[in-house]
């Protein structure tokens, strides 16, 4: 394998870096601390599973490029947790699940209308819808009557099959589906093309608006179900329970090697990105850093990754400059000469 081949491999498979990070951190933790047992690994797996479900939705939105991002997921997660518990207590699980899906679809549709239809920058539009959802959670919080967690949801969120957390299986299924969507379907291709060059995509007959809108709906729906499961996992709902997922989902996406400018994403990378981020947090907990410091470190990690990714994309821009445009006249003459 030549050097060029190797760098090409890393260029095409950016998830390798996060996998490497996961392995290195795991090795260090295993050697350095006796307290990092298989059990804590499964704890990491559970946290990472919740994160990856949200992060995959975030990844789809980021893939559409032009700075698209979904900041409303925190509000969606919190509200879904409240609603699933409230509705489950009064009307049973099926209605609760339908309500959760409805929250996801509605929030995603509103985001899509604001961003695609009205052209409002996603960072502002989704921030605003997130605030509206947070207010709805406040209202729900007032009528909150103890625990009504569905035992079925609790089994999915916290149960184990042969030592394997069920939620991890759920997460892997979602990962597989998103991977197929990106790699094997026309929609996945259209999504990459839209994220990289929306004008060219449009000229290739791709309905760019619909492609982008669908990602916002997908992101919200994934966040909504994640919220319901998270509520079942912790056995209740509380305000702000979704908030950490804004930065963490972004962190998982960029750590995983998806381009923050859109157009190139990897579901597998997002899995490793989620794992890595959760392990970083776990490490800090083991070391005994206070929660505030943990947030600082997480933020610093994301910024560091973006700084490096930004540099490399600038380099790429220099490698392929626009070809100079020679004067067009005289072409036909040369054409004749070649015939």
């Amino acid at each position: 394998m030549t050097g060029a081949r190797i760098s090409e491999f890393f260029g095409l498979n950016r998830w390798v870096w996060s996998l490497g990070g996961v392995l290195i951190l795991w090795a260090i933790l295993s050697v350095a601390t006796s307290s990092f047992s298989l059990q804590s690994l499964s704890g990491v797996a559970v946290s990472a599973s919740f994160l990856v479900i949200v992060a995959l939705g975030q990844m789809l939105v980021i893939t559409t490029g032009r700075g698209n991002i979904d900041l409303s997921i925190a509000g969606v997660i919190t509200l879904s947790a409240f609603v699933s518990i409230l509705v489950n207590a009064q009307a049973g699980l099926p209605v609760a699940l339908v309500s959760v899906a409805a929250i996801g679809i509605a929030a995603g549709a509103v985001n899509a209308v604001l961003v695609v239809g009205l052209g409002i920058p996603a960072i502002i539009a989704t921030l605003a819808t997130g605030y509206m959802l947070a207010t709805a959670s406040l209202v729900a919080n007032r009528s909150f009557a103890g625990s009504g967690v569905s035992p079925v949801l609790a089994a999915v969120a916290a149960g184990r099959i042969g030592g394997m957390p069920v939620i991890a299986i759920v997460a892997l299924v979602v990962v597989a589906l998103v991977s197929l969507l990106l790699g094997r379907t026309a929609y996945g291709r259209a999504l990459s093309a839209t994220g990289q060059n929306a004008r060219a995509a449009r000229l290739a007959g791709i309905r760019v608006g619909r492609v982008v809108a669908a990602t916002f709906v997908a992101s919200s729906v994934l966040a909504a179900f994640n919220g319901a499961l998270l509520g079942a996992y912790v056995g209740g709902a509380f305000l702000e329970m979704g908030t950490p997922y804004i930065l963490q989902s972004l962190g998982a996406v960029v750590l995983g090697g998806s381009l923050i400018f859109g157009g190139a994403s990897t579901a597998l990378g997002t899995v490793f990105g989620s794992l890595l981020l959760v392990m970083v947090v776990t490490t800090m907990q083991i070391v005994g850093l206070p929660p505030g410091t943990q947030d600082i470190v997480q933020g610093a990690v994301v910024i560091a990754v973006l700084a490096l990714a930004g540099r490399s994309s600038i380099r790429r821009g220099r490698v392929t400059p626009r070809p100079p445009q020679p004067p067009p006249s005289g072409a036909a003459e040369r054409l004749r000469a070649t015939h």
């Binding site: 093309a193 290739a204 791709i206 392929t320 020679p326 006249s329 005289g330 003459e333 040369r334």
Partner: protein
């Protein structure tokens, strides 16, 4: 080829300019005389802009000298040229839309009064004076973005005047002006001449050059092909110098049958933001197996016309019909589905997705063909890619590499291949040979002929006279948004095409006399 005349302010002495791989200017000598209008004229790409940029300090000559008042000088930056009294009115407007007229005129050299900062009142007073000299009622405090393009052009001119330039370069200053504004500009130019200012004047409007110019220099393929005083020349002479003495008819039959009308555009109108028309009541059609060339200068409305046909302009009016059925109600996606494909002018921005693979770019517009159930059948896709690569002689090592790894010509072939995989009936090609090397050009032209022979209707836009003559079955000439001539291959001559491309501008009298010349 020396011309007797007035005192010389600046000389480009035996100047050449090379860009990566091409010579934009070859050993050109150009005198700029004081108190006179020095006209530069030539086809697109003949090297006019490069010469101007050398004078204005935007570019440095690769070889040759610049003589100012007989002494060799260098202009490493624009600021150096400005400090020597060289001003320029750019063709593309370089104004700040959110600033006022006065602020634009004095941008970068604001009038300041001690610690109180910018003296807005004085700036506005002087801007008002300049506007009065241009006989314009533009309010100096109005934001530039509220002005029509023609008025913005006047602001540019006022800005150059305010710099008290000794040498003033004007690049197509009348392209956006109304007939009345042109008259005012000509009076201002006469006024500047009397003050001894040397004016370098560039325009495609030949009648205008004859009227305003004193000395003329004609460029072709980077060479100076003619220099004279305007008194001694006429439009026929200019055209002859522009296209060369050996201009001849080399259109040839490619020997295939031309079929039914496949695409018909009727009365297409597209307004500009500024209120005038980018596409002005254009009607044309193309038949199966026919190549229709649209020739025109930049900004003549050619690309906009293709955009209208493609359904990319919401404000467009008129009807577009494909095989006799109106497709007006369809969006771009559905039009592609019905069989229209566009090869855009700007490959990087609209034609391809840079970091996606060659294969993915090729099949991007036709993915539906390869989908079974919900997933893409890799094998079918690979076969189509292999076939297209072979058909279009695209030189690729591996179709899985990013498309940006290809040369410009091969990238263009990928864009063409992408369009062809949609199975189009009509192919719209906007400057298909721009920015690609000679060999690839020949390939692209061969592909166009082959496609036409297979029964595709092709409309292609070009600024290259020889190209349009060599490839077209029929030639539509556009100017100022209008089709000013529709010529059959047999009746088309370079002179007719050039004249028609300059018609449609400015005063009715001029365009009328030129179109008479065309029909004559």
């Amino acid at each position: 080829m020396s011309v007797e005349g007035g005192e010389i302010a600046l000389t480009l002495d035996d100047v050449s300019k090379a860009y990566a791989g091409t010579l934009a200017v070859r050993q050109a000598t150009f005198h700029v005389r004081k108190g006179a209008v020095n006209v530069l004229v030539g086809e697109n790409g003949a090297g006019k802009s490069t010469l101007m940029k050398i004078i204005a300090g935007v570019e440095q000559p690769t070889l040759g000298r610049i003589l100012l008042d007989g002494k060799p000088v260098r202009f490493p930056t624009v600021a150096d040229a400005v400090s020597q009294g060289i001003g320029m009115v750019f063709q593309e407007l370089n104004l700040f839309g959110n600033l006022s007229v006065a602020e634009n005129i004095f941008a970068g050299r604001e009038l300041v009064r001690g610690p109180r900062g910018i003296d807005h009142r004085e700036q506005q007073r002087r801007a008002g004076e300049l506007m009065a000299r241009l006989q314009s009622r533009i309010d100096p405090s109005a934001p530039v973005e509220d002005l029509r393009v023609g008025q913005q052009q006047l602001v540019e001119i006022a800005k150059a005047m305010s710099q008290k330039a000794r040498i003033l370069i004007m690049d197509e200053p009348t392209s956006a002006l109304s007939a009345a504004e042109v008259e005012v500009l000509f009076r201002v130019i006469a006024d500047l001449k009397r003050q001894g200012v040397a004016i370098v004047y560039i325009s495609h409007r030949l009648e205008e050059l004859i009227r305003i110019g004193d000395y003329i220099t004609v460029l072709r393929d980077g060479r100076v092909t003619g220099q004279d005083t305007i008194r001694n020349v006429d439009t026929h002479w200019i055209v002859r110098q522009m296209i060369g003495r050996d201009a001849k008819d080399f259109a040839k039959d490619v020997g295939h049958r031309i079929g039914e009308i496949v695409l018909k555009a009727d009365n297409i109108v597209l307004p500009r933001m500024t209120g005038d028309l980018a596409v002005d009541h254009v009607s044309l059609d193309v038949r199966a197996g026919e190549v229709l060339g649209i020739y025109g200068l930049m900004g003549a409305g050619r690309s906009e016309l293709l955009d209208c046909i493609m359904g990319r302009q919401r404000l467009a009016a008129g009807t577009v019909s494909l095989c006799g059925k109106s497709i007006n109600e369809l969006d771009t996606t559905d039009r592609i589905g019905r069989g229209i494909a566009l090869i855009p002018e700007d490959r990087q921005r609209e034609g391809q997705v840079g970091i996606m693979s060659i294969a993915e770019n090729l099949t991007m517009a036709s993915l539906k063909r390869f989908v079974r159930g919900i997933h893409i059948v890799r094998r079918a896709e690979r076969d189509a890619v292999t076939e297209t690569v072979k058909d279009l002689t695209i030189k690729v090592v591996d179709p899985r590499l990013p498309v940006s790894s290809l040369s410009g010509g091969n990238q263009q072939k990928v864009v063409i291949g992408k369009a062809l995989l949609t199975g189009p009936k009509v192919l719209l090609m906007d400057e298909p040979s721009r920015g690609i090397d000679v060999g690839a050009k020949a390939d692209v032209f061969r592909i166009m002929r082959k496609l036409a022979a297979e029964g595709l209707g092709i409309i292609f836009v070009t600024s290259d006279l020889e190209e349009v003559m060599a490839l077209s079955d029929r030639i539509a000439v556009m100017s100022n948004g209008k089709v000013t001539a529709m010529l059959d291959r047999k009746e088309a001559t370079e002179a007719k095409i050039v004249a028609a491309a300059a018609a449609g501008h400015g005063p009715a009298r001029v365009s009328q006399s030129l179109s008479e010349e065309v029909s004559a």
